[in-house]
């Protein structure tokens, strides 16, 4: 394995991280939107969201990605591998984020909401000032957990030709007939990223426990 090979795995890491970040950044607000639709019990739509989330949570990312990549052009929507990858990641992670947000919303104390109503806050202000800051704090560990899960499914994007860390490593292994060294480089790249997220999650949980104990 040459220096150039290692550089190409690092290029794969840039792809992995960029796609994961895009997926997270788009998936978070969509997940929140879906959770709000369910929470507000909007007729018909709430049920549709529930079914959508249930299906998406049961669908493997590979299957979803293959569906999007092959079926969308078939119905006249041209799609390239990168946009198919981002769309699949966003659909997948927003469904999981929806459940995390929804759990926080369900546990949100109703009296606070009514108090905000009684001092005359409008719905948008109520949500921004009263609900969001609190559910954000409760959901944060779960959301960070979803982020680490998202990074761990990104190797699947290789099936449509996205060259991420894993794909780059497989390619080098096939060229040099020595698959283990590039795989170990790949492990060494994933481990710190995922571990950093897991450590972040534990840190948030510890800090929240400490503030609760102090209160």
């Amino acid at each position: 394995m040459s220096g150039g090979d290692i550089a190409s795995i690092f290029q794969g890491a840039v792809v992995t991280i960029t796609l994961s970040l895009i997926g997270i950044l788009i998936g978070l607000p969509i997940g929140l939107g879906l959770a709000l639709l369910r929470w507000a019990n909007v007729p018909v739509i709430a049920r549709m969201v529930a079914v959508y989330v249930s299906i998406l949570r049961a669908t493997p990312l590979v299957t979803l990605l293959l569906l999007l990549f092959f079926a969308l052009p078939n119905i006249g929507v041209p799609i390239n591998p990168i946009s198919a990858a981002i769309l699949a990641l966003v659909m997948n992670t927003s469904a999981f984020n929806c459940e995390v947000w929804r759990a926080a919303l369900m546990n949100f104390p109703k009296d606070q909401y009514e108090a905000a109503q009684s001092v005359g806050m409008r719905a948008s202000l109520r949500f921004r000032r009263i609900v969001l800051p609190q559910i954000l704090r409760v959901s944060l560990p779960g959301l960070v957990n979803e982020m680490s899960l998202l990074i761990k499914v990104t190797p699947v994007l290789a099936v449509v030709g996205v060259v991420d860390i894993t794909r780059a490593a497989v390619r080098i292994g096939a060229q040099t007939y020595e698959p283990l060294p590039p795989f170990l480089v790949a492990v060494a790249l994933y481990a710190p990223i995922v571990f950093a997220l897991v450590a972040l999650q534990r840190w948030i949980e510890r800090r929240q426990l400490a503030t609760e104990a102090a209160a």
């Binding site: 049961a58 493997p60 299957t63 979803l64 293959l66 078939n74 699947v156 698959p179 790949a186 995922v194």
Partner: protein
């Protein structure tokens, strides 16, 4: 569009064998990784720093590596160490070893949350180690960890789809080959999605009935 589903229907034997393979693979992997997880849990909680350190390194290591990369290492990487496995064995082994780490962590969490009193009472009554585990520790542990184990089983079902990449003939692989043979991508993959959904709903229903059992015992 209806015509496309007709083609998928004519290939139902292939799809059903894929579904059967996914089910067998996931069921075997879930049971074996749960058993292996049970073996690992005491090691994780061991008082010997060497034992708990090794177990902790394994569990944390697995949790930091994407499953697909791990499957690749088992399938493509092990032969260069002289271990050559076919795609079924390596796929199943990868699923079991990888998920055993998650199961061990789940069981450890549930074990730590168990009340101490029944265990101490069991010791006071002179239960042997094995009997204590089987009669006193295991039943409430399985009942309280049931939902999380169910979630992990769903995760295993979804992980098994990754094995299509090492040419294991499971559900996604079957859908892929139908799509490449007849070019009916939407019908083929959406059918697979619904079959996965059905499988996960079955697991969820199982978990719910375990939950009701736990309620009834209380």
């Amino acid at each position: 569009m209806i015509h496309d589903f007709g083609i998928v229907w004519s290939e139902r034997a292939l799809l059903l064998s894929g579904l059967a393979n996914t089910t067998i693979l996931s069921a075997l992997a879930a049971i074996a990784s749960l058993v292996l997880g049970f073996a690992l849990t005491p090691a994780l909680m061991s008082k010997h720093p060497a034992v708990s350190g090794i177990a902790r390194t394994f569990v944390d290591g697995m949790r930091c590596v994407p499953f697909l990369l791990f499957a690749y290492i088992v399938y493509y990487g092990l032969p260069s160490l002289g271990v050559r496995l076919d795609n079924w064995t390596s796929g199943l082994m990868a699923l079991i070893i990888y998920n055993a780490a998650y199961m061990a962590e789940i069981l450890r969490g549930a074990w730590m949350a168990q009340p101490r009193e029944p265990i101490e009472a069991g010791i006071a009554f002179g239960f042997s180690e094995l009997k204590l585990f089987r009669r006193i520790i295991l039943p409430p542990l399985l009942l309280s960890a049931g939902p999380v184990i169910g979630n992990q089983t769903i995760q295993i079902i979804k992980d098994s789809a990754f094995l299509t990449i090492i040419a294991l003939p499971e559900l996604t692989h079957a859908a892929s080959s139908i799509q490449s043979r007849h070019y009916v991508p939407f019908a083929a993959f959406i059918t697979a999605v619904f079959l996965y959904w059905g499988l996960c709903l079955v697991v969820e229903a199982g978990v719910n009935s375990v939950g009701r059992l736990a309620e009834a015992r209380r």
